[in-house]
Symmetry: C2
Subunit: 347 residues, 2 copies
């Protein structure tokens, strides 16, 4: 493995000159630069990352802190990670995935942060009250959140624009002629514990429906196929003549579809279904393929990394705050509602 010394010797310059060629920190004449570059090429020189990190006090490593306690990453999170990694490598950084368990690993996190291995970190799955944020800030590590804490005023974050996303989804259904739309949210516990996306979409749904002069009917659902089936039963009990459903819950929606079919209601002829914050891969699995609000996973990853790097490279701008809407992708699960009452009843 060639070192800078070898390059310097071959190019007949000092090591510092080689370093300046590499980093561009000081002006170097054309001739010298060319000789150094040639020497590097000849020796197949690669700077040693550790030595660089030690001397410059910048590791050029970014941490992506994600809780991996549960069942791993969904497609949305995966897209986020890949987008972030690609963005990082595009600007010459490495991205380290650190599975910091959501709960007691706070000390572990502190230790990580103090090891000076990360120039900055992206924190995923942020809760409304997230103690990891404080821990990281105390350690003085530049930080970008995915999601938002309750008071995120002083922080950088990238999050989904739930208001806009819900508004668009509702507009799509209303535009098709639907009037009785039920929203299937996350579980009641998630709502009670202050899970941001659940709360924000709830409020947005009420606002959107009210704006159209419609009644906002909402049902919570456990994150499972069974939860989806139960939610559908509850929804039909409450609004027997519903013609459309909007679901926040990537897992429950498969239960909803299954139960709908089991009850002899066809999708989308009898009931239209829109899935929120969903990846195309998952949407395509369903039969029919789901019309969905596609989450901007990889874009979010890219933006988060870019904001972080901009901060690190000192382009001054503290506090990057941005909301991204999901985009409507129409597939086979939505259509106009049945022209008149599908299963008997008045009018």
């Amino acid at each position: 493995m060639a070192t800078m010394h070898d390059v310097a010797r071959l190019a007949q310059v000092s090591v510092s000159t080689v370093s300046y060629v590499l980093t561009g920190t000081r002006p170097i004449s054309q001739g010298t630069r060319a000789r150094v570059l040639a020497a590097m090429a000849e020796l197949d020189y690669q700077p040693n990352a550790m030595a660089r990190g030690l001397a410059s006090r910048r590791s050029r490593i970014l941490g992506l802190l994600l809780p991996m306690d549960e069942r791993g990453l969904g497609a949305t999170e995966t897209a986020f990670v890949t987008g972030a990694a690609a963005a990082a490598s595009a600007v010459g950084y490495h991205l380290v995935l650190s599975p910091v368990g959501g709960g007691g690993d706070l000390d572990e996190l502190r230790r990580l942060a103090s090891q000076r291995m990360f120039d900055g970190v992206v924190l995923m799955e942020v809760q409304l009250a997230d103690e990891r944020v404080a821990a990281l800030q105390e350690a003085g590590v530049p930080l970008v959140l995915i999601g938002r804490t309750g008071d995120a005023s002083g922080l950088s974050y990238v999050d989904i624009d739930f208001e806009q996303t819900v508004r668009e989804a509702v507009a799509h259904l209303v535009g098709l002629g639907h009037r009785r739309i039920v929203y299937v949210n996350h579980s009641a516990e998630a709502l009670n514990s202050g899970y941001g996306p659940a709360l924000r979409t709830r409020d947005a749904f009420v606002a959107a429906m009210t704006g159209h002069g419609l009644e906002p009917v909402m049902i919570p659902a456990e994150d499972s196929a069974a939860g989806g089936r139960a939610a559908l039963a509850a929804a039909l009990a409450r609004t027997p003549d519903l013609t459309a459903m909007l679901a926040m819950n990537e897992t429950a929606i498969f239960g909803i579809l299954g139960e709908l079919t089991a009850r002899g209601r066809s999708v989308p002829d009898d009931v239209s279904v829109v899935s929120m914050v969903t990846s195309p891969q998952v949407a395509e699995l369903a039969t029919p393929a789901l019309t969905a609000m596609t989450s901007p996973g990889s874009t979010m990853g890219r933006i988060a990394i870019e904001a972080l790097v901009r901060h690190l490279d000192g382009s001054g701008d503290e506090r990057h705050q941005q909301l991204l809407p999901c985009s409507l992708e129409i597939r086979g699960s939505t259509a106009a509602p049945p022209s008149r009452q599908p299963m008997g009843a008045d009018q």
Copy 2:
């Protein structure tokens, strides 16, 4: 940020002594060790990862090289990654995810390897002929593969035991009384291009069926819901009275299920379905939930990391080669075949 010097001063010992306490490289007396530990605690000392890496020539960072060109990671790959990350952090290593695009990024890979940032790497999605392997070996980076190259004799790898997995799946179906079982593999292109899992399962299916005195019927399928529907059509054309299907294709299987329902064949009453190399999360999405051969994702990740670390820490054993079977998880998609011809015909 406290340094080793600060600790040494406070504990009234030399820096080297502090280092020995930290690394256990040389014996240290009880009293001294205690004083040093106390000083560390008081100063909230954390060793600087870069300095350590530079001086010891070991970064304690492991690379996980995975191609991220396509649609991101499935649940199986995710489980693998989380398992690997957990195992790495358990033995004091960090895991860096590097999205090395499958194709032209070979130079990028070489560069990465030469930067001495990784003590070792795990290579995912290995092809039968994979040039990345050679590139890494030339760079002298310890290596563990997930999957196998054509000739893996000199390499360390962890892979799924496809033979055993297929055998178990077939045994399950045969045990239920099925005789006409169709195997839905990956696409014809995948087979032609020598994709290992597709070839290995194909051969294993032939062997298993023949072993039971049954005829091995096989159909390729594109990796999509549409591909699954087409495959079902082809399967029914070829074996109209099939009673069970075994599918290797996590995506196609949803198309198969949808089409089965559309054709009025109920699962599992008319047709049993087993999904191979599938994660529980995906299996649960289907209606009914899929009986599946669950891929040992996180176990594989753990084993791969442990093998790599054992190699690095010089416990001598080169070449760890291991195959892991998927485990049968019975859910709702398999049952005994219909007692006698479900749709007319002889006997």
